[in-house]
């Protein structure tokens, strides 16, 4: 149940930790401590979505590379 999801969340964040944090919307490198955010796609839970502070503030859309979900 819930624990299964949490485990998969953990696995993905570990495997993704090595890749540079690129904003899913503007594709710029996110600065450490710039207060961006990362989360698994709300719809499919498979891809990691990253949003830089600027894109979050402006509400710039992001698209999930796995399922095509468009947020926010």
């Amino acid at each position: 149940m819930a624990s299964k999801y949490m485990l998969s969340t953990l696995n993905i964040s570990i495997s993704e930790a090595a890749t540079p944090p690129i904003c899913s919307s503007c594709h710029r490198l996110m600065e450490p401590g710039e207060h961006g955010v990362e989360f698994l796609c709300p719809n499919c839970g498979k891809a990691v979505i990253r949003r830089c502070k600027r894109c979050r503030q402006l509400g710039v859309p992001y698209v999930c590379p796995n399922c095509g979900f468009r947020g926010p």
């Binding site: 819930a2 989360f39 719809n43 839970g45 949003r51 979050r56 979900f69 926010p72």
Partner: protein
């Protein structure tokens, strides 16, 4: 009738259809959405909320698309069901959100923050009421601006119910809906609660809560 309950006198059904589609499967009958006024926006629409609007009534009132409300409740439930319940903060400075938020937290096991949001709640570990959320749900991005600001500061995702007049700065997932009406907020939170429990398998995929949306309404 109060301003908050905003009746929709339009006869056209505020729901978009896909080409060739005859029936849209919703979480509840369309009539139930309409009766609660969940689709009734305001006379203002921000650029953030344009994608969720069905039409503008002749008197200038923006009407939200019931399909998009329904879709986003489902997506938000999937999203929230992936988090440890005790790490979900649910916020409402707005009074009509008090009971809906409290009820959802009872069922889901998340942490309610109703009434004035004390600055530092998510950012200052020295406060006795300090809380470190993994995700934050807000009732109204304007009224709950402090909670959003702090969620942004600590880098956690924000899910927000948003009306047509809301700016959704720092919101990562919008659930469009009338976040001013008492009945509307009760229904939106009731639906979200039920759907989270369905996603988690606490209740079957078409299971129901033991209480009705009316039980989520803040009493006058």
């Amino acid at each position: 009738m109060s301003e908050e309950e905003k009746p929709d006198t339009g006869e056209e059904k505020p729901i978009s259809m896909l080409p060739g589609e005859k029936v849209v499967e919703l979480l509840i009958p369309l009539e139930d959405y309409l009766t609660a006024g969940v689709h009734i926006g305001t006379h203002i629409c921000t650029k953030f909320m344009e994608p969720f609007v069905y039409r503008v009534r002749s008197d200038g009132l923006y009407i939200l698309d019931a399909r998009k409300i329904d879709e986003r409740v489902r997506v938000a439930a999937k999203f929230l069901a992936r988090y440890e319940p005790s790490k979900i903060a649910v916020v409402s400075v707005r009074q009509y959100g008090f009971r809906p938020v409290t009820k959802m937290c009872e069922y889901v096991g998340c942490k309610p923050f109703t009434g004035r949001f004390i600055p530092g709640t998510f950012t200052n570990p020295s406060l006795a009421w300090y809380f470190e959320p993994d995700v934050v749900v807000v009732t109204d991005p304007r009224a709950d601006a402090q909670a959003i600001k702090e969620a942004a500061e600590v880098g956690v995702p924000v899910v927000a119910f948003a009306d047509t007049d809301n700016k959704t700065e720092f919101v990562d997932l919008v659930i469009p809906g009338n976040n001013k009406g008492r009945k509307s907020l009760a229904l939106l939170y009731w639906l979200l609660t039920r759907q989270i429990l369905r996603e988690r398998g606490v209740i079957p995929p078409n299971g129901d809560l033991p209480e009705k949306p009316a039980d989520f309404e803040t009493k006058l």
